[in-house]
Chain length 205, copies 2
């Protein structure tokens, strides 16, 4: 059976759980507390030398790191990744790269300080510095979702999964989503997908 | 003809030029000075609402952003991306995601402050903060290249192109590569690829 070394609260790990649930795919979850250094032990670094979660165990000796790569591996050949169209495929990767570079480092990092470390006062200055970048990313998403039901090709793909993970908990990072009606409508379309599970829900397959 | 909105000195743009050159593919280069705001004009934001380079023009009305997505679009179906093997394909994406999240924000950002903005003194504190993360990324690369000729599947792919772009100019960001023999040997294997062009070379196809 597949194994996922992951932390329940992490949006990057939730992305993989959400896709696994859509695919109704059995996978053993191995809770890995990154706050207490469990992704930096010698045994973990053998699996993923970059010391981050999620790490996906494909077989006895093969591990895959990076949420983008794991989502691609699981989604290719399913309805969650466009078939036989290089441009649509590249657009999915474009939005996933946008999420990791222009969204996650602002919104997920603020949420980490505020809601996971629970140190909003200690990190007040850094949190303030992350505000403009986070809102800029939300603006780009809003503009796109104002004209599109989903991010790529009119259907729900791993681009939506990747962007949903930290956007729907952006309030936990101090971002107010009231001014983003298109993003809020899209949240509902994601929740309506078959097999949807919440970020707080334990994986049961 | 394809068009690439790009800045010559940017490693993210160089990645695309290098692959285009390997593929011997005609493409018009449109120099876009991000330092002077040319990627933030209304006309540029219509092409790429995220306001970054590179942006690749596929046809009259279609633009692709994010170096990872552009490289995938151009490489899929060629020798530079693994065919018919989801695991190898995912491993290529894994290294490209590693580059964008755990490498570029340290090494490319330091190089930007030191060698493009030419403000090493003004950014001295930030540059110092970027050192541990940059060296950690180089350590992960060195460990992998010590046992592998290239990053994925024993052959030169867009994972190598993505990682080469900012690593081979890491000294311009204040990183000393003397202690990285495997990385230095790999540089030579990249330079030996047919169609290789240097980051300083204008694109002529």
């Amino acid at each position: 059976m597949y194994k996922l070394f992951q932390m329940q609260d992490s949006g990057n790990c939730y992305k993989v759980r959400l896709l696994l649930s859509h695919l109704n795919m059995p996978c053993e979850m191995i809770e890995t507390d990154i706050i207490n250094g469990e992704s930096r032990t010698a045994s973990y670094l053998e699996k993923n030398p970059n010391g981050k979660t999620p790490t996906f165990q494909v077989d006895e000796t093969t591990y895959l790191a990076e949420s983008t790569a794991i989502l691609y591996y699981l989604a290719a050949g399913t309805d969650y990744f466009p078939a036989n169209d290089k441009l649509l495929q590249a657009q999915v990767l474009q939005w996933m790269a946008f999420e990791q570079y222009s969204h996650e480092p602002y919104i997920a990092t603020s949420r980490f300080w505020i809601s996971l470390l629970k140190q909003p006062t200690e990190y007040a200055e850094q949190i303030k510095e992350k505000q403009p970048g986070g809102y800029a990313a939300l603006d780009v998403m809003e503009q796109h979702l104002d004209k599109n039901e989903f991010f790529v090709g009119g259907t729900y793909t791993i681009a939506d999964i990747a962007l949903y993970a930290y956007t729907h908990v952006a309030d936990e990072g101090g971002f107010d989503l009231k001014g983003y009606p298109a993003i809020n409508s899209w949240f509902q379309r994601v929740v309506n997908q078959p097999g949807y599970i919440a970020i707080t829900e334990p994986y049961r397959n």
